[in-house]
């Protein structure tokens, strides 16, 4: 048996809160499955998009926010454009990701995506425009794949597709103010997405994996 759902969970305020904050009527979903049928990433997800909608309808907040699915959604908007009840599923996935971020519920297996987002945003806060070397470098180190895409690096340098130094914009102060205000208004502690525990755990797993592989 996969889940046991008690009455208290069904009556919880999760659905109401989501519908109010997000503006999307999840209760309209009649589980036709068209979203799941067209989702390009469904093959890797643990719950299909229509199952996530169902879990939201039944108030199962924790299962939804710790699922792999919400992080694997690529925001390709295929589901949104085809839903016969005109529900914006991609927007709901966005909301669930932000809520997971606010509640600091990150799945144990898909830590790379929130990590990447955080590094990207920090990058922009520091320079104003994306410093790709910094992004790739930091990401590789913190996710434990030290030598990922290393083969591509020399080709990219030679073709001058990637800059060694970052481009800084002039008015960084104004930008940093925007970041600060957004964080405050969203009541999100922006610096808390980098979970040291998770990073170390991830690195550990990768190192062990490599050692096992070499054997």
């Amino acid at each position: 048996m996969k889940f046991f759902i008690s009455q208290d969970i069904i009556k919880s305020s999760f659905l109401e809160t989501l519908q109010k904050d997000c503006g999307e009527k999840v209760s309209h979903c009649y589980q036709c499955g068209k979203c799941s049928a067209g989702c390009p990433i469904a093959f890797q997800m643990d719950y299909l998009p229509n199952q996530i909608m169902r879990l939201v309808q039944l108030g199962m907040e924790e299962q939804v926010l710790t699922s792999k699915t919400i992080w694997l959604c690529a925001s390709c908007l295929t589901c949104t454009c085809r839903c016969p009840r005109e529900i914006d599923i991609a927007e709901i996935m966005d909301y669930l990701r932000r809520r997971a971020y606010q509640k600091q519920l990150i799945p144990l297996e898909e830590t790379e995506i929130p990590l990447f987002n955080k590094i990207f945003l920090k990058n922009i806060e520091l320079f104003g425009r994306l410093y790709e070397m910094g992004l790739i470098g930091m990401f590789n180190i913190l996710s434990g794949n030290f030598f990922k895409d290393m083969a591509l690096a020399p080709k990219m340098f030679l073709k001058q597709k990637i800059g060694i130094f970052p481009h800084r914009i002039n008015n960084l102060k104004e930008l940093r103010l925007i970041f600060k205000k957004s964080g405050k208004l969203a009541k999100a502690k922006r610096n808390r997405l980098l979970h040291p525990k998770l990073i170390i755990l991830n690195l550990f797993r990768k190192v062990i994996g490599k050692i096992e592989g070499l054997k």
Binding site: A74, T78, D88, L121, N171, S182
Partner: protein, 293 residues
């Protein structure tokens, strides 16, 4: 024709050739692109996945900077930037209840006045296919291309208002005018894996691999794109796709501005053709589009 130009972060680095070719084409056609001073990253995917207000504030900041430049429409080449800017515009126009929050963050009032257009839209709809046809000096005959639109050019249709949702044709029309032969194929708007390029590379390999396979099955010799992330997924990762799925793809991935540039008589070296990882020069030489060695 003058436009405030928003290149976006990738056009200054990994999609350098898109920027080069777009500027070259604009110059040849007499369209002036004035780069918005001190523009910032639009936030792309990570912003709207993390902080809703930030994902709207960053584009709005850029649109305000464009407004200051003058009464121009904003032109952008990157599909993600186009999507984010348009979504921010729609939000500021429609959501009267919550736009106050964004205005507070950026420190100015804004209600969606600055119009945003994608470069493809400008070329086909504003400049006009007839006018382009008059300036074409070299027809790219015999080049079978698959026009790949990706996710963000046509979706969501209420926001982008660019082309038909399931079967877009703007790029195909442009290719026909310059003499290339666009193939009719079913994966015009299938997702390539988007921003999972670094984080979930295996997903990108599968999805982009399927796109390359479908393009090849329908007889295309090259793929034409309008989005830097699509191009990098299909081009940079082609080697890895070949290795992972034991295929032998050798399909160059062009930006539509590059092919248009070649048709307008601009030299290949001025269009960044050498920057691709899958070398397009042999194919172009074979079709007689650039001079043989």
């Amino acid at each position: 024709m003058k436009y405030a130009y928003f290149p976006g972060c990738s056009l200054h680095s990994t999609a350098k050739e898109y920027d080069i070719s777009a500027r070259a084409v604009a110059g040849a056609l007499g369209i002036e692109l004035l780069e918005i001073p001190d523009w910032v990253c639009c936030g792309a995917t990570p912003a709207h996945l993390t902080l809703h207000l930030l994902s709207l504030a960053l584009p709005v900041k850029n649109l305000l900077a464009a407004k200051k430049l003058g009464n121009y429409e904003v032109a952008t080449c990157c599909a993600a930037c186009f999507s984010r800017l348009k979504i921010a515009n729609k939000f500021m126009e429609d959501d009267l209840e919550h736009r106050g929050n964004v205005e507070e963050i950026v420190g100015a009032k804004y209600s969606g006045e600055v119009k945003v257009r994608h470069f493809l839209d400008i070329l086909v709809n504003v400049f006009g296919l007839k006018n382009i046809n008059q300036r074409v000096t070299k027809k790219l005959s015999g080049l079978k291309v698959a026009c790949y639109y990706g996710c963000l050019l046509t979706r969501p249709p209420e926001v982008t208002q660019l082309d038909d949702l399931e079967d877009p044709h703007l790029m195909d029309d442009l290719m026909k005018i310059i003499g290339a032969e666009p193939v009719q194929w079913p994966y015009k708007t299938e997702c390539c894996g988007a921003s999972f390029s670094l984080t979930k590379t295996d997903i990108v390999l599968k999805l982009s691999g399927d796109i390359l396979q479908m393009a090849q099955d329908e007889g295309a010799q090259a793929i034409v794109v309008a989005c830097p992330l699509c191009q990098s997924n299909l081009d940079l990762r082609q080697g890895m796709i070949n290795k992972q799925y034991k295929k032998k793809f050798n399909i160059p991935v062009f930006y539509f501005t590059q092919l248009l540039g070649l048709a307008l008589g601009i030299e290949g070296t001025k269009l960044g053709l050498e920057k691709h990882l899958v070398n397009p020069l042999p194919l172009l030489r074979e079709k007689g589009i650039i001079a043989k060695r």
